[in-house]
Amino acid sequence: MNFGFTEEQELLRDEVRKFLDEQCPMDRVRELMKTGDGYSPELWKQMAELGWLGLTIPEEYGGAGLSWVDLVVLLEETGRTLYPSPFISTMLAAAAILDSGDDAQKQRFLPGLADGSRIGTLALLEEADVLGVEGIGLLGKRDGNDFVLSGTKSFVSDAGSANLFVVAFRSGEGANDVTLALIEREANGVSAESFPVMDQTKRLGQLALDEVRVPADAVLGKPGEAAAAITRLFDRGAVAVSAEMVGAAEGALYLTVQFAKDRIQFDQPIGKYQGVKHPLAEMYVDVESFKSLVYYAAWALDESPAEAPRSVSLAKAYATDAFARIGIDGVQLHGAVGYTAEYDVQLYLKRSKWARPIFGDADHHYERVAALGGL
């Protein structure tokens, strides 16, 4: 029985924290979030050199061969500092290839994702914003052994900077007849862009496909049989976003705790008053709790897949509701300065708005928990 991190994982945490504190403090975050692609290619390269971009990629494909629990350690830290980069997107693209790809596809794409030369992302959703196989309408027309795709994938994270897209499309009549394929940005008929987002540390956009040809060797797994893999990717995405929420919520909490210690009103630090300290205690209770749920969900993804759906949904649902409240309370406890662009707490509030719908809001996941629990 050991629900804790190993010494190596704690060392990884220290290393990541040191890197982000030194290389990307909040003023640097603020610079990067105003750039077009919203990340620093130079820091991206350093992350590759440190082995973090290939963290979950097996050694034979140029990675470190670690688990999603290790990835959670990293994501907690990128969340805490609101570090802007296409890191989650790339990890998810790698997971799609690892979960469903054949050896040739792994050889061809994974080393590039690990060394930072490729930025990957998932293109699963469409305008209807339905998180499930039923939300996939893009039709793949058969042409010999190829599929030909025309249409738009929406809500694609880091669409502007990615050069490798994991695209879900419909490949036949059956309700579950869906397929995953890899499409490179350089292919004919591909255009992708990010739009300005409320949380400026994130990028979200769309992938437009015009008669794009998908050869058989770009299909992940068997055509028409990707439904389970897609659900699994949604689950991985939910865990990744939730892991960043753990760090970000903790970041917002300790920023506000510090403010409550420093700010004097009625001759006392405001943190002395129960009207201030009790909401902070409630934030702590929530962060501790969804932290436990997220750690377990990450563990279940790899080690106990049968219980992963319930664990993932409990984690994402709890985290989503709690972080939304923490963002709002954080700003409110700061008073008027919390409303200013100058103070960082507002950046965390915006992150909580970002994290809510991405890979499913609380309603979506609680409904799934109810159904899985026999209701």
């Binding site: 029985m1 129960q274 300290k277 709790s289 563990w299 928990v369």
Partner: protein, 386 residues
């Protein structure tokens, strides 16, 4: 991360399961005095009563993982408690083991393990509840005796107890925490008057206790004079991860889901109502969070780090769940929630009402939610003391 137990630990689990299979049939009448007498006799033959206490004093010498396994298996089968001296086993005994003289250990520990009689706890006073350290019940030393005058309140099971662990003020001039002494008092003293208090659910589990010139021999003092606060705190300091309680919370959740399955809303099964489904799923998230928080705290304990303030997290969850789940059962029942216990029209003999009215025992008993929030914000977040 690793969620399996060692072979040895699994063997212990099997031992517990086998004992329960043999001695706790599914149809056991858990409140029947004859069954309980038999149960208590049988469990006394195991080493599980006082399992965490050292073997030298007659305890079981169980390590932490074994204690957790034992409690979880017991809770799964809704087993009656081990031993029947509730407070003696919960904290009086450990205080005596830690601070008592050899005489006191010999005199009290075997009786607690055998469940010969009940102990009660005289802490709260009418004017000092959350602010316990300001207590005023007075003890004046006269020769080899303390003479006690004052009042305690909210003393659970005082009317059925033979002994009380009592906090008194021996030095009114010392700083408030330093003037307190702990004494063990026999309840039969003619100067003690116990008046039961009826609670809002109609029961009377707690009482007021009045002390008039009650004489307690100095040999019944636990710890040194002025050490009473420390004696109390260290009994509470060895916090548990709270995993065993979670099994009970999961059972309550299942009962609530079962109630939802046979309830209707707007003419349809309640389980088809999205609001009901979400509410039940949220309860599940909170109970699961308690379970996993408990596992993280247990891991910390296993690494040899004592638990302290972090256990307030699960206490707050438990408090909220006791209130909200108890209340939600009534909401699901709709208008029929109104028929009182004992009325022929009541659902399930009115048990949901009891659940909705008895939460203060848990929620207020061990320190109110606001006190838990003070603990978290001051001791963990480092905010200035209120």
């Amino acid at each position: 991360m690793e969620f399996t137990f060692t072979e040895e630990e699994e063997r212990f689990r099997t031992e517990v399961q086998e004992f329960l299979a043999e001695n706790l049939p599914d149809d056991a009448k858990r409140s029947d005095p004859a069954f309980l007498a038999d149960w208590n006799r049988k469990v006394r033959e195991t080493r599980w009563v006082g399992f965490s206490w050292p073997k030298e004093v007659g305890g079981g010498g169980g390590v932490i993982v074994e204690q957790v396994i034992l409690k979880a298996e017991m809770a799964k089968r809704r087993a009656p408690s081990l031993g029947n001296c509730f407070m003696g086993l919960a904290w009086v005994g450990s205080s005596i083991i830690q601070y008592g003289t050899e005489e006191q250990k010999k005199r009290f520990i075997p009786d607690i393990l055998d469940g010969k009689y009940q102990w009660c706890t005289g802490y709260s006073e009418p004017d000092y509840g959350s602010d316990l350290a300001s207590l005023q019940c007075k003890a004046v030393r006269e020769g080899d005796e303390y003479v006690i005058n004052g009042q305690k309140i909210w003393t659970s099971i005082a009317m059925w107890s033979k002994w009380m662990i009592l906090l008194v003020r021996t030095d009114p001039d010392a700083k408030k925490h330093d003037g307190i002494t702990c004494v063990l008092v026999e309840m039969k003293d003619p100067g003690i008057e116990v008046r039961p208090i009826e609670n809002m659910a109609g029961g009377a589990m707690f009482a007021e206790v009045f002390f008039t010139d009650v004489r307690v021999p100095v040999e019944n003092r636990l710890g040194a004079e002025g050490q009473g606060w420390q004696v109390t705190i260290s009994a509470l300091a060895n916090e548990r991860s709270g995993i065993a309680e979670v099994t009970g919370m999961f059972r309550k959740l299942e009962e609530l889901k079962e109630l939802a399955r046979r309830s209707r809303r707007n003419g349809k099964p309640a389980t088809e109502d999205p609001g009901v489904r979400k509410k039940l799923a949220r309860f599940e998230a909170q109970v699961e969070a308690m379970r996993l928080n408990g596992m993280r705290y247990l891991t910390k304990q296993l690494k040899g780090e004592p638990l302290s303030s972090e256990t307030s997290v699960n206490k707050l969850h438990r408090a909220e769940l006791e209130v909200t789940m108890g209340d939600y059962a009534l909401e699901l029942l709709g208008s029929s929630s109104q028929y009182a216990q004992g009325s022929n029209a009541s659902i399930d003999r009115g048990k949901w009402q009891t659940g909705a009215l008895n939460w203060p025992e848990v929620v207020i008993g061990g320190g109110t939610p606001n006190i838990q929030k003070n603990i978290i914000s001051e001791r963990i977040l480092g905010l200035p003391k209120d």
